[in-house]
Symmetry: C2
Subunit: 464 residues, 2 copies
C-alpha cells in the first residue's frame, strides 16, 4: 500500500477541498424545504463516483430520496467490499447556537483537535466519514493497488429512518452481493485510543399528541376546571420511568439480553473517567438506570428519551392560555433482542392506557430499527483490527455503542452480511448538535486506515 | 336617559365602524415587534377621546406603553366615575387556527350570537368592552344627560402585568380621585342571564428553565447516561400536583380563605350544566381538585397551569437529540388572601428544591396580581344591578370569576376605591384564543346599560 499512501499524502489538500464542497450542500432530509438540495447532493455524489473511476454509476430513484450506487469489479473471484454511508444530514437547528454557519465549513483548532477540525453540519455524520472511503478507493485505484472488488451504496434518508433503503436492499440482492459491509458512521474512544464498534442499539421513535379542550382557553376562566394537556403530557412522560430510572412500560424489558458478569467485567476495562465526562458536559452528576455504569447505560441498556416537546404559548412574555394540544417526540434506544415494531406497539398501547379520560391521545410512529452485534472473531473484524493496528500503532478496543444504525440489522437479515463499523469520529464532535465538526487528523487517519482493511480482508479471505 | 338611548340607536352603525378601525391596530403588548402599533393605538385612542368631547386629554408616558387619560368634570360636587380599560391585546398565535385574520375584523353569525359577532383579536378583551364606555359617555354628553363626572384611564400593558400602571396610579392619586371605578373586562353568564363579577382570582406567573448538559447531545450516544432536561422538567411539573389535584407546593394553601358551607350553597345555585360544558369543549370529562365543583375550581380555588412548554427538536420529522435546555411558562391563579409575591417565592424555592442534582434550574418571575372581592351591599354594586335590571329586564347574578385583573386589588390599596366589574363578554367568546369575538348584542347592550349605571350611581349617592 506504499503507492496508495504516497498518493494520499500528495492529494491531502485536494481531498479536504472536495469535502468542503460536499459539506456546503444543505442536504437535510428531515425538512421538506431542503428537498432540491438533497437531490442536488445525490447528483454531486454520483459525479464524485465518476471522477474516481467507478463503474455502473446510478442514481437509484426511490419513493423518497435516491440511493447513489457505483462499483469497481476488478476480478469476480476476489472478495467484494460493500461500502455503505449516507449523504443526508440532521437539521441544523437550533441555528443560533452555531458559532459559524452550518453549511459554510470552516477549519478551527480545538483542544481535542490541535491540528484543526472542519466545522459544518454533516462534517462527521456522515459526509466526512463517507467521503474517506471514496478517497481511499481513489488512492488505491490510482496507485493500481486495489486488493478487492468494491461497491458503494450511499443513501439520503439515514437521518429519517432509511425506509426506502430497506426496500432497495430487498429488491437488489444480486447487485449488492458482497462479502462484507464496511461503514464509517460511528466513533472511536479517542485519537490515541482507536476502537471499533461491535454493537449498536436499535431505535423506536414516536410522536405523541395530547388533546384536551377543542380550543385554546383562557387559563383564568378555565384553569383548574379542565385537563391541561401540557400538564397531562408532563405527568404521562414522568410516569414512563420508575424511581430506579427503569422504563415503566409493561413488557419493555421482556426480550432484553442481559450481559453475563464476565462480559460486564470486560466492558468495565475500557478507559472511562466519570469526572472528565461530567466536566465535558458541565454536569454535577450523571443520571440513569440504577445498578448500571454510565458506559453500560449508554450501550447495553435500553432507554427512553423525550427528543422534543411543545405546546401552548412559547413566544416572548406571558400568555395566560390553556392549550388545546401538547406534543412530544419520544425515542427509545433498544438492545438485542428487542424488536422495534413490538416496542412501538407496547408504547402505543401503554400510552393510550395511562391517558386520563379527560384528554385524547394520538401516537404516531416514526422510524425504528433493530439492535445489532458484530462478532470479534470474524474475518471482517480481524481485518479491521489489523488495519487500525497498522495505522495507529495499537490494537483497537471493541466497543458496544449506544447509537443506532438500523440498517445494520437489515443488511444481516436481507443480505446475510456482517457489517464492520470503522468509525473515526469522537463523542465530542457534536454530531446532531450545533457546531458539529470532524478532526482533520481523523479524516486523514480514516483515509490512511481504510486501504489496509482491504489488504488484510483479502489476505484473511485467502488464508483465514 | 331617553335622549341618550335615542342617540345610541341612531349612531349604532357608526359606533361599530369606529370599533372596527380600533380593532385593526395590532396592539400586542407582549411582543416587542408590535411596539410602534401599540403606541399608534394609544394615539388613536386619545383622538377618540377628543372626538367625544373629553377634557385634559393626555398620553401619559411610562417606562413601557403609555396610559391614555381624559375626563369630563361637569360639577365637582357630583360623584365621579373612573373608567379603567386597556387598549393592548393578547398575541394572536397560534395564527393558523384563526378562520379570518386576527386584525381584519369581520362580522359573522354564530349559534350563540345569532345577531352576529365581531371577530378580531381584542374584540372582547378589551377593546370592544372598553369602547362601549366611550360611546356611552359620548351619548350622554351629546344628549346633555351625563349625571356624574367621568375620568378615563386606559392602559396598554394589561396583558403583560400592568407594571407601569401601578407606578402611575401611585404617583397620580389626586388626578385619579373618584368615587367608584368602572371596568368592563369580564364576562356574564349568558345573553339572557346577566351577571356581575364580584370576585377575581389573583395571578403569579413564572418562566422556568431546566439545563442538563451544556450542549445538545446525540440521544444514541448519551441517552440513558445523562439527565434529559425535558424528561426532568416533565417530572418536576408532574410533581406540582398531588393525586387529588391539589397544588403540591409547601405553604401554597396557607392563606387561602375557605368559603363557608352557606356561601358554597349560594354559589351552587348559579345555572351550570356539566354536560353542556363538556360538549362545548369536546371533552369526555372535566378534571380538577377533588371535592370541589367545576364552578368552584374555576373561581374560589387556586390553581396551577402550564401555559407553554418547549425544548428539543420541534420541527417536522425525527431528530434523535437530547436537548441542553427545556422551558415552561407556568401560572398560578390565586384567591383571597394569597399574596402573589409570596406565592412566586414559594414556587421558586420549591422548584429549586425538587430539581435533581443532575440539572440546573432557573425561575424567572413574570407579572403577578392579588385576588379581589366586591361586596354586593355597596352603592356601586347596587347601581350596577339596577342598570342591568333596567336594560335586561332581570336582576344580574353576582358571580365570582376565575380570571385576574390584578389592578383591581391595586386600585383598592392605592386609591381606596372599589371596582365594579360590568362585563358583557361570554365565556365562549374565545378571549386569549384564536377566533376571539364579541357579540353585537353584547356590544350594544353594554352601551345601553352603562348610562343607567351613571344615573343610579348618582341617585344612590344622593339618597342611599
Amino acid at each position: 500500500m506504499k503507492n496508495t499512501q504516497n498518493f494520499i499524502s500528495k492529494q491531502a489538500d485536494r481531498f479536504l477541498n472536495e469535502l468542503i464542497i460536499l459539506l456546503k450542500i444543505p442536504s437535510v432530509s428531515a425538512d421538506p424545504s431542503y428537498k432540491s438540495q438533497v437531490t442536488d447532493c445525490a447528483k454531486h455524489l454520483a459525479n464524485s463516483f465518476k471522477e474516481i473511476g467507478l463503474d455502473k454509476i446510478e442514481i437509484c430513484q426511490t419513493a423518497g430520496y435516491p440511493i447513489v450506487y457505483g462499483e469497481k469489479i476488478i476480478d469476480p473471484s476476489l472478495p467484494t467490499v460493500l461500502v455503505y454511508g449516507h449523504y443526508d444530514v440532521q437539521p441544523a437547528d437550533p441555528i443560533d447556537l452555531w458559532t459559524s454557519p452550518p453549511f459554510e465549513p470552516v477549519i478551527k483548532k480545538t483542544v481535542i483537535h490541535p491540528a484543526g477540525a472542519i466545522f459544518a453540519r454533516g462534517a462527521c455524520d456522515d459526509k466526512g466519514q463517507m467521503f474517506m472511503h471514496l478517497k481511499a478507493v481513489e488512492a488505491m485505484l490510482s496507485s493500481g493497488e486495489l486488493p478487492c472488488n468494491v461497491k458503494f451504496m450511499i443513501e439520503g434518508e439515514e437521518e429519517v429512518g432509511s425506509g426506502n433503503l430497506a426496500i432497495f436492499v430487498k429488491e437488489n440482492k444480486e447487485k449488492l452481493k458482497a462479502d462484507i459491509i464496511l461503514v464509517s458512521d460511528t466513533g472511536m474512544l479517542a485519537n490515541d485510543v482507536p476502537s471499533v464498534t461491535t454493537g449498536l442499539r436499535g431505535l423506536s421513535y414516536v410522536e405523541v399528541e395530547v388533546t384536551g379542550p377543542n380550543r385554546d382557553l383562557h387559563s383564568g376562566l378555565y384553569g383548574g376546571c379542565v385537563a391541561n394537556p401540557i400538564n397531562v403530557l408532563a405527568e404521562m412522560i414522568a410516569s414512563l420511568h420508575d424511581e430506579n430510572g427503569k422504563v415503566n412500560i409493561p413488557g419493555f424489558y421482556d426480550r432484553v439480553v442481559e450481559l453475563t458478569d464476565t462480559e460486564r467485567q470486560e466492558m468495565a476495562k475500557a478507559p472511562f473517567s466519570h469526572e472528565a465526562y461530567c466536566k465535558a458536559l458541565d454536569l454535577k452528576e450523571t443520571m440513569g438506570e440504577a445498578n448500571y455504569s454510565t458506559m453500560e447505560r449508554g450501550s447495553i441498556r435500553p432507554t427512553l428519551d423525550v427528543n422534543g416537546i411543545w405546546g401552548g404559548y412559547i413566544g416572548e412574555g406571558a400568555k395566560t392560555v390553556i392549550a388545546s394540544k401538547a406534543f412530544a417526540k419520544i425515542s427509545m434506544r433498544l438492545v438485542p433482542d428487542q424488536n422495534p415494531e413490538e416496542i412501538t406497539a407496547l408504547f402505543t398501547h401503554h400510552f393510550n392506557k395511562i391517558a386520563p379520560n379527560s384528554v385524547r391521545v394520538l401516537v404516531k410512529p416514526h422510524h425504528g430499527g433493530e439492535a445489532a452485534v458484530t462478532p470479534i472473531d470474524s474475518i471482517g473484524y480481524k481485518a479491521a483490527s489489523m488495519a487500525y493496528e497498522k495505522s495507529f500503532g495499537k490494537k483497537p478496543i471493541p466497543v458496544r455503542s449506544g447509537g443506532s444504525i438500523p440498517i445494520v440489522a437489515l443488511f444481516e437479515r436481507e443480505l446475510g452480511l456482517k457489517t464492520i463499523l470503522m468509525g473515526f469520529g469522537l463523542d465530542s464532535d457534536a454530531i446532531h448538535s450545533p457546531n458539529e465538526h470532524f478532526g482533520l487528523f481523523n479524516f486523514y487517519k480514516g483515509i490512511e486506515t481504510i486501504p489496509y482493511f482491504y489488504k488484510y480482508f483479502k489476505e484473511l479471505n485467502s488464508n483465514p
